[in-house]
Every structure is written in structure tokens, then in C-alpha cells.
Symmetry: C2
Subunit: 230 residues, 2 copies
Amino acid sequence: MCHAGAVSEPSTIGILGGTGPAGSGLAARLASIGHTVVIGSRSKYRALETRDELAERWPDLDDRLACGDNAAASDADIVVIATPWDGAAGVAQENADRLAGKIVISMANALVRVNKEFQPLVPPRGSVAAHVQAAVPRCRLVAAFHHLPAAELGEIDHPIDSDVLICGDDPESVREVSAIVDGIPGCRPLDAGQLSNATAIEAFTAVLLQLNVRYKTRVAPRMTGIADAS
Amino acid sequence: MCHAGAVSEPSTIGILGGTGPAGSGLAARLASIGHTVVIGSRSKYRALETRDELAERWPDLDDRLACGDNAAASDADIVVIATPWDGAAGVAQENADRLAGKIVISMANALVRVNKEFQPLVPPRGSVAAHVQAAVPRCRLVAAFHHLPAAELGEIDHPIDSDVLICGDDPESVREVSAIVDGIPGCRPLDAGQLSNATAIEAFTAVLLQLNVRYKTRVAPRMTGIADAS
């Protein structure tokens, strides 16, 4: 799917918490479409381990995968926060000066499992994304990637059949992230409005996980009624 | 799509608040697949007006469309509450004795529009559906139909291309509602677990409305990754 004016130039993208399932899956996926990815972690050694594992599995990606601590990853042009939700605002704040002025992508969902139920938590500012934005007011926060199954993200030989809901208070930043998403085979970026919508987008992930358990699969959402994301 | 054991027998379905866009659209849709529908309203005269309008537009449905006040509609086998969200628990409570023991379907979303944003409200018990269940503890509450565009519901000559997320605390009731949804052309029922999930399902409607405005369309969700809702 190619939208006029929406083709993204290859960027350098840092991933804080890039050693977890979502972060490492996203790292491989973004590298596979031409971006240079800096995998970050609290421990630069763990980041190196993840980097080498990915490069071993996909040698073609080797020269597009870098690594370092979270500060090093924060020096990239665009930064994704892929830590568990309760670490997202903290790691952003620790690197606030490096993140100032940049697009920062929040993808975490605040969820707990209570017995057999996945329950969304509502952080004090309404969403993990809003919490991160408040922690680093000078960054341009964009919420995206909440509904993509982590395992599917990392299976770069297969397209991901999903719409990606993207929201944020700076329309230009939303457009830039949309262009990146548009480069991922099978993914369609959808402009979901302002950052306030992150609350419902994050919470809805609990429903998707519930469906995963019930149907023994990994679901991802598609919106009918939108012919093309122009 | 036909799932073994999931074919619904025609039922008599009452719709409280059946004169609004969602209620009258659902009335036409359910009558079109063989159910007898009792359109209810605070005013039995308004219910009659809606009934006659639908029967005039679709003469084939005439003998499957009945009407009355909300109490009369509450006497049906299965009852849908299609009032605006802030009237749902009240109308349920007024008819509590009639609804006792029955499947009651809550479809309302608590939303407000603030400037250009649709914002989900969180009712005291977490969802409109949970509020209705609390108002009529003896009913078997099922939440469904939140994401279907009202106008599309009423366009019975066209299938609705959507999954319908269904949740509730009584699995047998969820199955019965799933069977009804399965009879609607284009709709696939999905078991979304317990009633707690209604919170995120209702809130997510705000995101869908945002997409409708942004893309000048009416969206509905589909889940990829589920081959068949068995």
C-alpha cells in the first residue's frame, strides 16, 4: 500500500527497552524495511546480546542494527519506548534532555491479569502515552503500535495483517510516524486523532488479549469502511 | 458464515428506546433475519410511528414488527436496551421485574464530544453495561453491538462488514446472543469474555467515531488472526 507523500525516508530509530519481546520484534521489523535501529536497554550488554541474536537470525539486517544503553538509543532521530508500561515514563524522564524536540513513540499498554481476565489500568493521566508526554513535555509524543502482537512483529518474513492506530497532539509527528508504519508490509496507518484517544486504544488491548486466549490465536484489528488511508 | 450449533431460532426481541437511530436500525435488521421485534419507547405512539415508518419502507417486515411502550417491549423473550447511554440503567430499573431472568443486551456507549474530540466517559461501575447489570441484578446482561454504525444497521439490503464483540458474565447468554449475531449477514460474533471487558469495548467506540470524522466514512472493526469463530 503506497500513499502519495507518505513514503518514509530511512531514519535512525532508537528503541528504549529494546530487549523485550515487543521491542526486539519492532527492532527487527524496522531494520527489515531499511531503518537503522539502535536497540537500547538499561544494560548495554543486554542490548548487545539482543542485537547479536537478531543479526544472527537475519544476517541481512546486521549493518542496520546498532545497540547501546538507553541513553545511546535516545540519541537517535526518532525514539520508541518499548519498556513494560510501568517503566515507560521513568526511562523517558531519565533521558529527557536527549528526547527534547524529538518524536517519541509510546507503545505500552497498562494491563494486569486478574484470574483469567486482562484488566486495563488507567494511569493518572489517562494513558501510558500521556504519562510519558507529561514526563518529557518537550518531546513530540505519538502513540502507536499498541495492538500489534509482539511475536508477529518479529516474524519479519511474514507481513502483519493489521491497521495501526496512531494518535498524538502534533499532527506533523503523527504524519511522520504514519509514513514509517506505511512502510511495514501489511500494516496500514490510521490517524486516530489526538493523544486523548490513547486511553481507549491502550485499554482495548485487554480485549484483544482476551480474544487471543479464547480463540488460541493472535488477533490484530482492521477497520472496514476505509478504502484507503489517504 | 454458519457455525455448528450456533444457528439461532427466531425469537421475540424487545428494543427499549427502539425509536432512535441505533434502536430502529437494529429493529429492522433483526426483523430482516426472521425475528419478531417489539419496538419500545417511553411513548407508545412514538414507537408506533417508528414501527409504521419501517414497515412502510420494508413491507416484507410488516408482520414481524410490533410496538408498544418500554414495558411492553420488556415482555419479549430477549430485550435490547438501545436508549442513549444515560437512560439505559434507568429504563432497565423501571422494568426490572419484567427483565428478571432474561437476557438483556446493552449496546450504549458513554461518550461526549468536547470540541473536536470524542471522549469516553467511565460510568461509576466501569461501563454502561455494568451499570445496567447492577440496576437489574436478576437479568443476564450481555454487552454487544457497540461498534456497529447505526446507519449501516438500518440498511438491511446491505450486509454489515464487522465483527461483533460480545461479553458477559453468563457464558450461556453470551452464546445465545452470539447465535443471533451470527444470523446477521456479514457480522461475525466474537466472545470477548466477561462483562469487565465492556469498559474497553465501549470506550473504543470513541476511537471509531474519531476515525469516521477523519476519513469521512463509517468504520467497523474486524479482527485478523481468527479463521472462524468456532
